[in-house]
Symmetry: D2
Subunit: 383 residues, 4 copies
């Protein structure tokens, strides 16, 4: 057995909820005759989800996100009758071509990750039975540019309170701190860590940052969330006031350009920057590259940029999602993925079997699905 | 200056937000010519709120909750032109009479605490400009028996996310643990503490219980909240499974009779019971008194009940809200009251000045009020 | 049964280790014919210790510390053949007279608390079989002025690693935070709390202060302890740098005059001061009283002193041990007292039965006693 | 510049204390004409220490520990006039040969790591000026078999309270949890984690395990340490009672064979085992290999062993120090290494310059060195 196959086995052993759903899918074949387009990071844990869709009767076509595809795994899946498009080296234009291929396959059910595929389907006048959207970033698109324009149901997985609490707060929060430590090997005790955004991810980053000994400050424009951060015991501050104080800056806002080159020019020498949001635009990396007088790799996952004023900043993983992009990191915990994929699997089944029970456009995960998955996870955790 | 007057000064010094609102009220007199009926625990911190309503032009009539009135303070307020009904010794029937007096005063604006006064006004066909309701327990009544029947706006203060997080989670959570310690002086480290309910209060009790060293188990029927408890690091369990294990049981469910006499009969000898919910019916105290073979006071705030099967349980403060009823405790932190009273004050002002901007029946605090108060509190906390 | 008697029963129920030792003492009567002088806070928990010494055959004469005697309890003990000297109202000169009475009783075994009685016995040429000394402050005297001069063994209880960790760190640490909250009812979340001293008490105060949400800074001259504070996640600072920043200052140094009137004059308005050390001289209260232009009681346990420069400070419990002196507080947890008194009881037994096994002058608790008590406490905690 | 050279630069940037010492060494050349034998993990951080010894005038010969040498780095150092023996692939017999080479070089000053080189020097009748010993495991040898036999001073670095608290508790504690997460990617929230040993490393593993959400139980034969674990809030238990309960077992005892094959046969299926102690003999890996019916690699750092009774256990990194041996991990934090190497550098300087100020045989780091390094580290942490 290959390394990757063994790793898949190990992963599957630790995903009891999705395994149980998979047994039911294999028996009931809810996707028989249907094409399921899957836009997802191609790595061992997601493979488990993709496999049970196939076992449930689906023709599965999968496309990874830019720069995160595990090529060895992609090959293995293809040998198992799962179509995988693209590889780790794909650039933006290649990714667009793959998306077009995915849309052209006229999928019946869609699992999207950033709403780009949904956007393409809507633009092309496609009418799948329905779609799930994994991310909050994708939900912004659905509620902004696509509002009122999507003629099929879209279940926003990340809106599930289960995802918010388990995956975003605890999963992402913990792994962001761990991957910052992994990339830098630096002591966080008493380092000033400035967390931008006190949404679910930000709450988790602040919590686990504090547990790692950091002196955490939160920057959050929403007054109610800012008060929550304060009473949770964190300093609440403005980014401008933290520039000279912060040792580590982590973005988790879902917004674009929250740390500008001007901000960076005001930071302490060797300030560390990392991004935990879905897109690599929270920190203005493009602007930084333009402005920098020199760039030096420092370790595998850190680049030091020297700015015109002589100060340097250390950027982790080029501003990509730090908990996925740092070499050696393995993304979210298996059990957290088990939960997220179980929400996905049951939502995709609902879209396949009973799309009429759902409204058009974006909507939360049906409450009975949330409930069933939560109950299953508590049972596993208390074993 | 009397002790209580000095205490009031000290309290007022630590309530900067309400003080600021008070200065504005004194200048603008939004309650001129109006009668404000106030149902509230009569203790130093609430006095600050009552005073600024008076300074804002209101005729104020106040009524405490059963067993929590500070009689010395009541006297002081009456000397300051604030009418106070009732005293600490009032029993249920006297309280009903006071409520009737309050209703009979045909108040223009109402601050209620448990919805009993609102219920009476509705039954009597009264039409004040509007009311605020402090508690979640009162909100149950508004959304249950009173649903669709209240012909004026009722702003539910406890539904504000500010109250949920600051007062219920951190305020109540912390003071419940402190008052259990105060009443018992017992070491909580490694004691099994069973928290019933993982709403905002329960979350706080579990959090501060863990911080005090307890081994916390959460009992929560809602699967999603139960999962939150688990991923937050708490054991999730069923009450039946905790009877033989638990050392301390704390109720925070908002429901009635969640710990029955049968449950108590199955508990370890000398198990400690406390209630953190609004009403003293979460633990079946009446049933316990009926069933007990003997009752012995153990310290000022604990009674030991010996059950027919020979086991004994120690009940704190007779099942009343432990953080208010334990002797020596002083309820929520001043600053947390500052926040809650600021929400109250601004909501009462809205009801007085612009009731037409609000819908009929129960509704959350207007978002702009939440925002203004949150911003003010963060500013104070970061001073 | 009187209130105090019932409270004693409750306390005794929660002191299983000392109860077990008491049963052995009652059977073996190790103190038959001996006079035991006991210098100890006279409160319900200490009564349990005093009683088992009496049951073990001793004539017991007890003297409380200044200002902490529970007079009702003193009466009860006297009815039980235990001599109690003094009352809560005693001033310094009365205390000296009581100490002289105690010394004049030519005790065979001594339990001291601050080394004042030992000092008097040494000065008077007395030769008891031996003594225990409860406090670190007393140990300073034994190792300073009394070094080489004590012609009998003195077991320093507070030097036991059990006391250091269980009582000083967790017991005192937790109750100091709780009594500051009890005295002030103020929110500690994000308040800057400056802890002076990072010995065992200071470590605990910092730990539980952080758990209560405070932003803790530690002032500690010893570089190794200061580093421990830093890596434990606390800010390490100098008192001078914290004057303008600190909201709460807590002393736990064992030294005299660590917060001077000059320091106080530099603090923020309404800064809170509390002392956790044995003696009420860590904060210069005498100097403060001299300097203050006015003094106002604010609540039962706080006095506001206005300094000549117009700034005011709020002093809790007049600089006496905050966790014992705040009204309503009940000192250390019962189980922690159980541990301390068990060390005392077994050490007093060793002094009575086998003084020759011990060296002269100050020494730690014999390791076999530490071990036996630790084992017993773990067994109780894991029940 | 090569990757490894850049990594060295990055590391050096984050080691300000040793850099400061290095500047002084380069100026004062305390090792001029001396040979320094260095037994140390050969990885980027240790390279910084080795370099300043060279800059201080020493001829340096370095030998890594089994299986941890970074071969690329070894090459780089050799190009810089530092002799490095051995490589990552060395087996036991090759390591012995390298040790013999090191001893044959008749070093003047020795930095040892496990006391094997000191043992060899003593056996060979060598008399260096003195040695430092990095580990507690090595100190066992010095105080056991070598007691009274070492005719030169040996400063035991790991006995420094700085190392105990900073490196062992916080450094090892945190990185053990991180590397278990890195190797398994498993959720630790509510998993029962059994920590064997409550010495400094065990304390840290328990602390950071709890911070990661685990339900931690401590197994510790010393009653006083066991009590510390209990009051710190951990379950205290016996290994036998945890076999059926534990999900993760971590050894940190310094002893041999604490988890036997019999223990493993009684564990839950898929129980995870990891070792945090210096030697890979705390878990009986040899016995496990003999007993296992099959062994399967699961991911890069985990092997699944199936026992004759059909149960399987997952062993991380073959029982080697998990925080060093897991692929992708980078050992202790840079700043923690900075502290340890600063103690080493100043101790080696003392041995070179003033061996007469030291006693023969094992001894702690001189207090003035502890103090100087602690002060420097606090200053850096509070920058």
């Amino acid at each position: 057995m290959s390394d990757i196959a063994r790793q898949l086995d190990f992963v599957s052993d630790h995903m009891p909820i999705i395994r149980g759903i998979g047994r039911r899918f294999a028996a009931g074949r809810p996707f028989d005759g249907l094409t399921v387009a899957v836009r997802i990071h191609v790595e061992p844990k997601t493979a488990v989800l993709v496999r049970i869709l196939r076992d449930g009767g689906a023709r599965v076509i999968a496309l990874g996100n830019k720069g995160t595809t595990n090529d060895e795994l992609a090959e293995l899946l293809q040998r198992e009758d799962i179509e995988v498009l693209g590889d780790r080296a794909d650039d933006d234009s290649t990714m667009q071509a793959h998306l077009a291929t995915l849309a052209a396959a006229t999928p019946d059910v869609v699992l999207d990750n950033g709403a780009e595929l949904i956007e393409m389907l809507v633009a092309g006048g496609e009418h799948p039975r329905g779609a799930t959207e994994e991310t909050t970033s994708g939900a912004f698109t659905l509620r902004g540019p696509l509002k009122g324009k999507v003629p099929f149901p879209v279940i926003v997985i990340n809106d599930s309170p289960l995802k918010a609490i388990v995956e975003n707060k605890h999963g992402v929060g913990q792994s962001v701190i761990e991957t910052i430590r992994l990339a830098t090997n630096a002591l966080l005790q008493r380092r000033r860590m400035v967390v931008l955004g006190y949404g679910w991810c930000g709450r988790g980053i602040a919590l686990y940052g504090k547990a790692a000994g950091a002196d955490v400050a939160v920057v959050e424009p929403d007054a109610v969330k800012a008060l929550e951060a304060a009473i949770d015991g964190f300093a609440v501050s403005e980014l401008e006031d933290e520039l000279e104080r912060g040792d580590v800056f982590v973005t988790a806002t879902g917004a674009v350009g929250v740390i500008t080159v001007d901000h960076m020019a005001g930071m302490k020498d060797n300030a560390l920057l990392a991004n935990a949001g879905h897109f690599d635009t929270e920190i203005d990396v493009v602007g930084l590259r333009d402005a920098a007088e020199s760039v030096t790799a420092r370790g595998a996952d850190i680049r030091q940029y020297v700015l015109p004023n002589g100060r340097s900043i250390d950027l982790i993983a080029e501003g990509k999602m730090v908990n996925l992009a740092v070499g050696g990191s393995r993304g979210n915990s298996i059990e957290i993925m088990d939960l997220g994929f179980s929400l996905q699997a049951l939502s995709l089944e609902r879209l396949a079997r009973d799309p009429a029970s759902l409204s058009l456009g974006d909507q939360p995960v049906p409450a009975d699905i949330d409930d069933a998955v939560a109950r299953a996870m508590v049972a596993e955790m208390m074993k």
